[in-house]
């Protein structure tokens, strides 16, 4: 079998060689240490959480059609948006791309057999599932009404609900994040194939690496802030309690020290995906490869020093406001550079508008809008007005949903043939991509307007003047819901009926495409040796043809 390439084999035999067929029992999945299978386990888990949190916000969105609500109480409303926030942030967005595609692709992309610590990797999935179940229990049985931010003293003394269990769940999820981060950092440093130098690494690997650094160093501070909340609420240990001279702002500092970098945990991998997909479908090297790496790392580091822009009206010193505002503008520079580089990657390329590229274009568009509105919120006087209004809601949904989720779908469509060995119907996927973009814009653009007009977030009942915007937003949400459910159908369909993909359906560079689809358990028959730079597409080195 050494001389025959896999796609020439009848597919039954080809399939028998892959990681998917290494065992068919449930045990062979639940006890696997194969990074690819763990990636798939994560994918299933976070999809579950995505739809749970999506269902919660659907109710909220529908409720907001009427200024006085339609069918739920204030308390239920508060619990639903808290559930949406907590689950989406910690059980979908933070783990989304790193744990699924990071797990699946990182060893493949650097030519390794597996991640550095495979058993730790499996353990981190179990921790994640356990954390998810604890949190879900807390949010559904009894509920939590603090918002995902757990601000004290509301969360410690006044909120009724399962704050302790919810905080414990998120705390446990932190271990999973940290374990994954450690694994990825060690893998990237120690297990690169011969010739895979740092300047030949695909940008996705760089992005996952930068993300892992943030995960490992930011998550523990969140863990500590939650632990202190629990100690205060449960054991009565005063830390933030203003009655004893404690400072609620201290909690906010600790919370945002994690939760701002968490946005970079969400968006950096998305940036990596965008670079991979753009290069492939433009048939060109990513424009400014080195600049892309520098900006990734700059964002990861400076991203740690901007959290105070969440606290401009919190009672923070006005001078600290200025410093945080300044650094927030600085961290926007590398983000802008990345957008320019992606755009320039298309320049003089040879572009095919396949579904993954459409998703990436949607990512770039939405991320650009999200990034630019970030400048508004980095400006102190504007943020004073906009803070805690729908403008902020729209801004971070553009980044975290428009950006990260679009990129997640791009990755799903780009690597689907590699993961499953099957092609999906591209026409349906393109419809999906365009519907997502449309639905997203309809949902969230009106929120910028009503936010500036003064519509506060987390409001169950609201002044009537905002109703038209809410109605448009809800219509958009319906479109968005359809767009997000659509892939569920055609991708599932493709598992059985899709065309056999072959090793490299996109003719992409990158080591993951040099092995079979789906890859064998050990990834590569022989350890690959890398001799060329990343994204060495055919148009590189082709001289100008004079036109």
């Amino acid at each position: 079998m050494t001389d025959i390439t896999l796609d020439r084999l009848p597919h039954v035999e080809a399939a028998s060689l892959s990681y998917l067929t290494e065992g068919h029992t449930l045990g062979s999945w639940l006890l696997t240490t194969d990074h690819k299978r763990i990636g798939v386990l994560y994918a299933l888990t976070i999809t579950f959480f995505f739809f749970i949190a999506g269902a919660a916000i659907s109710v909220v969105r529908l409720e907001l059609v009427h200024p006085h609500g339609l069918f739920i109480t204030d308390e239920e409303y508060n619990r639903l948006f808290t559930l949406h926030g907590v689950i989406m942030v910690w059980f979908f967005l933070v783990p989304s791309i790193p744990t699924t595609f990071g797990n699946f692709l990182l060893p493949l992309m650097i030519g390794a057999k597996d991640v550095a610590f495979p058993r730790l990797n499996l353990m981190s999935w179990y921790i994640f599932v356990a954390a998810g179940l604890v949190t879900l229990y807390a949010l559904i049985a009894g509920g939590v009404d603090t918002g995902w931010t757990f601000y004290t003293p509301l969360s410690t003394f006044y909120a009724n609900g399962n704050v302790i269990a919810a905080a414990a769940g998120v705390f446990i999820a932190g271990f999973s994040s940290i374990a994954t981060g450690i694994n990825f950092i060690a893998t990237t440093h120690m297990l690169r194939a011969p010739g895979m130098t740092w300047t030949r690494l695909p940008l996705f690997v760089w992005a996952i690496y930068a993300t892992s650094v943030v995960m490992v160093l930011a998550t523990p501070v969140l863990a500590m802030s939650l632990l202190l909340i629990v100690a205060e609420r449960w054991l009565g240990m005063p830390i933030f309690d203003p009655a004893n001279g404690g400072d609620p702002l201290l909690f906010q500092h600790m919370f945002w020290f994690y939760s701002h970098p968490a946005v970079y945990i969400m968006i950096l991998p998305a940036m990596g995906v965008a670079s991979e997909v753009l290069a492939c479908f433009a048939r060109r090297r990513v424009f400014g490869y080195v600049a892309m790496i520098i900006s990734l790392m700059t964002i990861a580091v400076i991203g740690f020093m901007v959290w105070g822009h969440h606290m401009f009206v919190a009672g923070q010193s006005p001078y600290a406001n200025l410093i945080f505002s300044f650094l927030s503008f600085i961290v926007a520079v590398p983000s802008a550079i990345k957008v320019f580089n992606w755009t320039a990657t298309l320049y003089k390329g040879s572009i095919t508008l396949k579904a993954p590229l459409l998703y990436v274009m949607s990512f770039i568009g939405l991320f650009t809008i999200g990034g630019l509105t970030g400048l508004f919120l980095a400006s102190v006087p504007l943020d004073i007005h906009l803070h805690a209004t729908y403008f902020v809601v729209a801004h971070f949904h553009f980044i975290m949903v428009g950006g990260t989720v679009s990129a997640f779908f791009a990755a799903l469509h780009f690597w689907w043939p590699k993961i499953t060995g099957r092609m999906y119907p591209d026409a349906w996927a393109r419809i999906g991509a365009m519907t997502t973009f449309l639905g997203f814009m309809v949902t969230f653009l009106p929120q910028f307007v009503m936010g500036y007009d003064g519509m506060p977030r987390r409001y169950h009942v609201y002044p009537e003047q905002f109703q038209p915007y809410h109605v448009i937003s809800t219509i958009g949400a319906v479109i968005l819901a359809v767009a997000y459910t659509l892939p569920l159908f055609y991708l599932t369909w493709s598992l059985r009926y899709g065309k056999i993909a072959g090793d490299n359906p996109w003719h992409a560079t990158g080591l993951e495409w040099k092995t079979s689809s789906p890859p064998p358990k050990e990834n590569f028959e022989h350890t690959p040796v890398v001799t060329e730079e990343a994204y060495f597409y055919e148009l590189e080195g082709v001289e100008d043809n004079g036109s």
Partner: protein
């Protein structure tokens, strides 16, 4: 036997520092006393980290990993100090 001898020196040094720091805490030196306590704590940590945890003979990569936590912690302390000191 050699595995005991070198660490024993560090052990004795640590215990001596413990005595010194308690002395410093009781001497009425005001802020200097606090500075001494913290300085001695720093020396103890340095001894354990560098000699016991073998950072002295570890690779650059491992030293970087060890330093990264402290470096990032600086962000937390310095940026927040900016708030509390100028409130």
């Amino acid at each position: 036997m050699h595995v005991w001898i070198k660490p024993a020196g560090v052990w004795i040094a640590l215990l001596a520092l413990l005595a010194a720091t308690i002395g410093a805490a009781h001497a009425e030196l005001g802020a200097l006393s606090i500075a001494l306590n913290l300085l001695i704590a720093g020396i103890c940590i340095g001894l354990i980290g560098i000699l016991f945890m073998n950072l002295a003979r570890s690779s650059v990569l491992i030293r970087l990993a060890a330093a990264s936590g402290l470096f990032w912690l600086l962000f937390l302390f310095v940026m927040t100090a900016g708030d509390y000191l100028s409130r």
